[in-house]
Symmetry: C2
Subunit: 382 residues, 2 copies
């Protein structure tokens, strides 16, 4: 709970069943920092929000079940129509309202259905209803994702984040839907760099399936008000922590995932090289199926490293799985298959690839690739 | 059958059961053209062959069940030791012998096991034994892959190709194991460009899982002898046709695949742009699981196109699935879900993405992503 911020969620009928429409209302105007997907195909809410997000923000309407992406001008107009109906109920200007959507690409929002449910949604608004909101924005997520931290400036402040995400997760420059709220009066624009940095160190350090969505959105809403410089250090720390926790909740809830692998590439000449190799290993279907099969298959890891489009010297590469060195100078260090298989069956996998070629490193979290990932995506129009 | 070329296959014991060692013997010296993987981590046979492939070639030993990759200097030395044993049996110089391997990465070849089976293998050599050879080089392949075409110069010539490949298939600049033989006397070096062109238009136009192997190898063995310029056009045509047929056999035998999708990107400003988009769509787990689910989910296709790292204008993109236009100018063209689902259930899927932004195009074949792909790769150390 953050005083002055109210939440609601309802089952409006966008989905056949379940919560699908969430609303956040700010009793005072908030500043907003946003980052959107780097996908060249962008959802309507991104095109729309960019036109209104300059002024103070008073509310945020988020739906699941329909991405409102690839819906042309009509998709953007639909949001204008909904804003025209919701703003008077909330007694705010339409330009004070932002949108976000997630779900099936290519279908327009059922605007009438949404408009019909707005009065009830507004009636449900309450400081304590963040759970309903966090559930209303879920698609294939199996649990809601809310994180809160507090820190001190002149007084105690909070940073609270709500996110959704499970499949189509490979955020770069942006992410799935994540909303972070704080009552700390961050001067608009002043901490943009911190915001981008926190996103880079959290949501951009996870992947589920290497798929960058059309709808990825991170929004940070901050209280407007007199400066409190004493709180800056605490705020930065809380912001990063909230985002990292949300990111970990998303990757752990990756579609069909049974385990999370932490891929660490050390000893690179440059960070960019370590990053390319780490990301290539993290999206490799062969390493990801090996994780599912508890297979200490370091050959697939080194093959992915060699296919990252950057120069590597295979005769220098060391690989450590679950703390056990399985390859040194590019060749196998004999290990007991049964013992390693048992170690690989844990929920958390640690993969360290040392290039022994420099001092730069990069790390990223990924999931295993399972029957259930195929099941979810072969049977659900998500 | 090509006169002067003998084949054999045997179960040497590299695998727990089944054929795993294949031999080709050339009664006269052949010229050879080769292309190897672009993966920076390369198998021992590639490092070894490069040192001997300049002279005339008299034999080729290929094993499955062990990739002999990431085995260091020992892995390369093992091949020298085997060559030293096999050459005297065949009465050839050791330098006239090439190797190729496929299977598990990181394990050394069981050289003693292989050496023990060489006398029997040589005894099995016969012009007609190409089937045994083609089966001996299989891993997760479900059928052997042999293609033969004939053409006329001053006399009739043949081009015969043998390939293996099913998973870890994403050849660029090279491919899985493919061996092509011809009795046409191609002057060494003269048709290198044709060879590379044929590889680009065949093996480099398929993908199964976006994984470039450490062992990808294409070898073209050509008869040495007096020129026959009348045969050049026929040879070029037959070479391309044999390679394209082999490539299609590989993608159709993709690990766990139930269908093959032909991804065609038209209307690009440059061929490179069309290629990046086609390849991105072809490796997208979300489009590939949709193919498995017979889901006409064009939203995932356009999302992949937007994530290809090249500029696209979403409002210009048309998408045609199985000949039916499902999106125009980036938005949905209404279609009957049940009819489209039925059309998507065919073995062959056609996906046309028109960028309406120029005249360049590119096409590639890919598979669906299925439970069986996960099963094969989570349970088999391949």
């Amino acid at each position: 709970m953050i005083s002055g911020i109210e939440f609601a969620g309802t089952a409006s009928g966008i989905k056949p069943s379940g919560l699908d429409l969430g609303l956040v209302f700010f009793r005072g105007g908030m500043n907003v920092f946003t980052l959107y997907t780097r996908n060249k195909v962008k959802a309507a809410h991104i095109l729309y929000d960019k036109t209104v997000e300059t002024g103070p923000v008073r509310a945020l309407l988020v739906n699941s079940g329909c991405a409102n992406a690839c819906t042309g001008k009509e998709g953007v107009n639909d949001l204008g129509v909904i804003a025209g109906k919701l703003a008077p109920i909330l007694k705010i200007r339409p330009a004070g309202l932002l949108f976000a959507s997630t779900g099936v690409i290519g279908k327009r929002l059922p605007a009438d259905t949404i408009i019909r449910s707005l009065p009830l949604l507004v009636k449900n608004l309450k400081d304590t209803h963040v759970d309903a909101f966090s559930r209303a924005i879920m698609t294939t997520d199996t649990y809601p994702k809310v994180v809160k931290e507090t820190f001190r400036g002149k007084k105690e402040y909070s940073v609270m984040g709500v996110a959704k995400g499970s499949g189509m997760i490979n955020p770069l420059f942006a992410t799935m839907l994540a909303f972070v709220f704080t009552d700390y009066p961050v001067p608009q624009g002043a901490l943009k760099k911190e915001f981008v940095h926190s996103v880079k160190e959290s949501f951009e350090r996870i992947t589920v399936d290497g798929e960058c969505s059309t709808n990825d959105t991170v929004m940070l809403f901050t209280r407007r008000g007199p400066e409190d410089r004493q709180g800056i250090a605490g705020f930065k720390e809380a912001l990063l922590s909230v985002m990292q926790n949300l990111a970990m909740m998303i990757v752990k809830d990756g579609e069909g995932a049974t385990r999370v692998a932490h891929i660490i590439v050390n000893g690179a000449k440059k960070k960019e090289i370590a990053e390319k190799i780490a990301r290539r290993i993290a999206v490799s279907p062969l390493t990801k199926t090996a994780f599912f099969g508890c297979d200490p298959n370091w050959g697939r890891i080194i093959a992915a490293a060699g296919d990252a489009g950057v120069s590597v010297q295979q005769s220098k590469i060391d690989i450590i799985l679950q703390g056990e060195q399985v390859a040194k100078n590019g060749v196998e260090v004999p290990f007991d298959e049964e013992t390693m298989k048992k170690m690989m069956s844990k929920k958390d996998i640690s993969v360290i690839v040392n290039l022994n070629d420099g001092k730069a490193s990069f790390d990223i979290y990924t999931t295993d690739l399972t029957y259930d990932y195929v099941k979810i995506n072969a049977s659900y129009r998500s």
